[in-house]
Symmetry: C2
Subunit: 123 residues, 2 copies
């Protein structure tokens, strides 16, 4: 039940950049970074689109080597592959994350999260 992930040496720069070139995926990465390593469920991203669409974008990020997806019950726990990417392309991820965290789409999802928390749901 483990999903296919590229090994560090299989991660190609143009695939990484192409994956991050989509605004939705860049926002997903920005939000993951803002959660500072805390694993995140797909459901958290539904502000960005339909379940199907999020599933599609998360698969792209995983296949590019940017995220790791672990199966946990009916959920998938998404994390950034920060250490793998830092080894493969030193210095690449930090400036991207820094800019991505400031994106309006990320603000949107953070606000939605606050509203949910205010209503008593877990983070």
């Amino acid at each position: 039940m483990t999903l296919p992930h590229p090994t560090p040496d299989q991660i190609a720069l143009s695939n990484v950049l192409a994956a991050l070139g989509d605004p939705t995926r860049l926002a997903i990465v920005g939000y993951l970074a803002s959660r500072d390593g805390r694993p995140t469920m797909c459901l958290n991203f539904t502000t960005f689109g339909s379940k199907t669409n999020i599933s599609y974008h998360l698969a792209k990020l995983r296949e590019a080597g940017i995220t790791r997806t672990e199966v946990s019950g009916t959920s998938r726990l998404i994390t950034l592959r920060r250490d793998d990417l830092d080894i493969r392309f030193p210095g690449l991820l930090d400036p991207i994350i820094a800019a991505a965290m400031d994106l309006p789409m990320v603000k949107m999802i953070e606000d939605a999260e606050k509203d949910a928390l205010a209503k008593g749901e877990p983070g």
Copy 2:
């Protein structure tokens, strides 16, 4: 006779990453970096494709804010917008360039350049 370029604040991260996500354009950037600021003509890139195709890719890079294109006679002189990008997205360009310069496509064009030089053409 000046071509349209985005101002630094008009440069969007997702556009930059999408532009660099194409292997041909990433190789163009790698080659420009390997020329260390020396302006480069479109003709230099014909190893990567037809004139039409190179024109298309160079326009994409210019519109994304990655390159500057200056008109000089019938030629266009292409340079990387390193300082603008370093201000807009500090630390972004360096690791990309470092990896892009090692790309096989860049090696190809450098070899073609050496052959041309050996036959007595200007760089």
